[in-house]
């Protein structure tokens, strides 16, 4: 076990001792002084062993190579998640298509539609994304178990400090790759009220597993040759946006002097299959539970809103309740190239991001479209599809995250700020993407 410490540049002035002293540093110094004294009594100095853990830190924490290696690791994680899961997704999709062949034969038309389009088209479709979500959790578990994630936080501290954030903020941000609620709650570990609040406010910008189904769907349909890279790009944009927003917040409304990062870096460990798969299962099963409960209920609600309108059951989907809601808001998104189908799905996405894909699947199924892929290609251009990915990346992750922000900040004001700035940011960035995309490729 070793302690790694980095004092921000602003505190390196040897004459400014008052500012440089931090109780944690003093505590760590005292602790290691005691250890040093004991060792000097009992240990005969010799040619010390230089172990693999020291070697790895030499490079993983390197001033220039640390960040590129971290990016390679992230790329490997997302490429593994996307590419390795594709075949299993296709198998699950084939299973639900096969089941749909039976359920569509149910003699009562509304029941056949409910089961085929509402349940199998909704929850069944979202279940095809179980493999990438489980593989993403497996990759995160392996990285955590090896001890690399804490090194990643230390490597990023150099950049985070320059931008006004605390290095420890990076750990909640990394947890945000799995779940935004976990990221917001993990912000408790960040020192300083201002640092903590900044971390809470930017954590939802990190791309959680709930957004993954939409990325995989859109990237697979519109950018098939670059699908893995596009998914990776979304995660990188999430990090960049989080850092930029944090920088703006820290230089405007949440100013506070930066504090040093002190981390205990444990030795690297070889992850065990049992441990990593156990962690994957513990996290992934929450998604299965979600799919079996409120995504199922949500699917039935969306099917009801898509099948019923002012004229009763069986009206054209454009005249259904969901069509009415979507078309009334769609003009605000017309410049992004989003049709009412997409806008309606985004509204349901406030509840949970998985619901965006689920809603699209049900709306298109009720519309009589057999394949969501071809339906999407008919209503979106590649530029609008990219804008949709950006919008989903940046707007509020889910209701549970809003609840977590309220709980952690203890303030409705900051909760409202969090929701509003994320929606505005998503809208602005999607607009910029469409504008730039239209200029170069339009």
């Amino acid at each position: 076990m070793k302690v790694t410490e980095r004092i921000p540049e602003s505190e390196e002035d040897p004459f400014d001792e008052e500012l440089a002293i931090d109780p944690q540093i003093v505590l760590a110094d005292e602790r290691y002084e005691v250890i040093g004294n004991i060792l000097s009594d009992v240990y005969e100095p010799g040619h010390g062993k230089w172990q693999l853990s020291d070697m790895l830190d030499e490079v993983f924490l390197h001033k220039y190579l640390g960040v590129p290696i971290f990016l390679v690791t992230m790329w490997a994680m997302f490429t593994f998640t996307f590419e390795a899961s594709r075949v299993f997704m296709a198998m699950i999709e084939a299973l639900f298509t096969w089941l749909g062949g039976f359920t569509s034969q149910i003699p009562i038309p509304w029941l056949a539609s409910l089961v085929t389009e509402g349940v199998l088209g909704g929850v069944g479709f979202i279940l095809t994304f179980v493999p990438p979500i489980f593989l993403l959790y497996l990759a995160i578990s392996i990285l955590e178990d090896t001890g690399y994630l804490s090194r990643a936080a230390f490597v990023m501290d150099r950049w985070m400090t320059k931008l006004g954030l605390h290095g420890r903020s990076f750990i909640p941000l990394l947890l945000g790759f799995g779940c935004s609620v976990a990221a917001v709650m993990a912000a408790r570990t960040v020192d300083g009220e201002s640092n903590r609040l900044t971390t809470i406010l930017v954590s939802p910008l990190m791309s959680c597993a709930g957004r993954l189904p939409l990325y995989i769907l859109i990237a697979g349909v519109f950018f098939p040759n670059l699908a893995g890279t596009m998914v990776f790009l979304m995660y990188i944009i999430g990090i960049i946006m989080a850092v930029i927003i944090a920088m703006v917040l820290k230089r405007t409304i949440l100013q506070e002097e930066s504090s040093p990062l002190i981390m205990e870096l444990s030795m690297y460990q070889m992850p065990t299959a049992h441990g990593s798969f156990r962690h994957m299962w513990d996290r992934g099963v929450l998604f299965l539970r979600q799919a079996g409960t409120f995504l199922l209920a949500g699917g039935l609600v969306i099917w009801g809103l898509s099948s019923f309108g002012l004229g009763g059951y069986g009206v054209p989907v454009e005249q259904s309740f969901i069509g009415i809601i979507g078309t009334s808001i769609q003009p605000f998104f017309a410049h992004l190239g989003f049709t009412w189908h997409v806008v309606a799905a985004l509204i349901f996405g406030f509840v949970a991001k998985e619901a965006v894909v689920q809603s699209l699947s049900i709306i298109f199924a009720v519309s009589g479209e057999t394949a969501i892929e071809s339906a999407l290609m008919a209503v979106l251009s590649p530029i609008s599809a990219f804008a949709l990915m950006l919008f989903v990346l940046l707007y509020v992750p889910c209701l549970a995250t809003i609840g977590a922000v309220r709980k952690e900040t203890g303030s409705w004001k900051w909760t409202a700020f969090s929701v509003i700035y994320q929606i505005l940011l998503a809208y602005a960035m999607a607009s910029v993407a469409v504008f730039i995309g239209g200029y170069f490729f339009g």
Binding site: E58, F80, M91
Partner: protein, 155 residues
């Protein structure tokens, strides 16, 4: 945690240069091909893949100077370079395995799949790396044996 194998420390300079240059040259060629400045070869069309090779090359080559100065820290770059190269290769092998499964099951998206498409430089360069490591190990064994022989004769 394991200690560093003697082969690595003794032949580190040769390993860093040979493997580092292999990744560097291939990375540059792949990036240039991806940009369309050279005729494309199957499996070498990914721009990002080329950048990954350049990062791996940078890790190996960053170790050359400290190794030449006799600093043991230089060996770290060779070890981490092998780990990162192995990670990238491992991911590609998983992709090949799952694609082969899709092809074997007769799934539509994999009907035209061939192994050649996915045998990217990340895979064969790591095979080259392992070969160089094995060669280095054998060379080390041979040198040690010769040293013992020489010692026995003079003694």
């Amino acid at each position: 945690m394991a200690e560093i194998p003697a082969d690595l420390t003794e032949n580190a300079l040769m390993l860093a240069i040979v493997i580092g240059l292999s990744y560097l040259i291939t990375g540059i060629v792949q990036v240039v091909m991806a940009l369309g400045l050279l005729p494309q070869i199957v499996g070498m069309t990914d721009f990002l893949g080329g950048l990954l090779l350049l990062v791996i090359a940078a890790v190996f080559l960053a170790g050359v100077r400290p190794i030449r100065r006799g600093e043991r820290e230089g060996v770290s770059f060779v070890v981490v370079g092998i780990i990162v190269a192995g990670l990238v290769c491992g991911v590609q092998l998983v992709i090949i395995a799952t694609s082969a499964l899709g092809w074997w099951l007769g799934l539509e998206d994999w009907s035209g799949w061939t192994l050649q498409q996915q045998l990217t430089p990340a895979v064969w360069l790591f095979v080259v790396t392992l070969t160089v490591l094995a060669f280095s190990h054998l060379l080390n064994q041979y040198q040690n044996r010769e040293l013992h022989k020489g010692g026995g004769q003079t003694g």
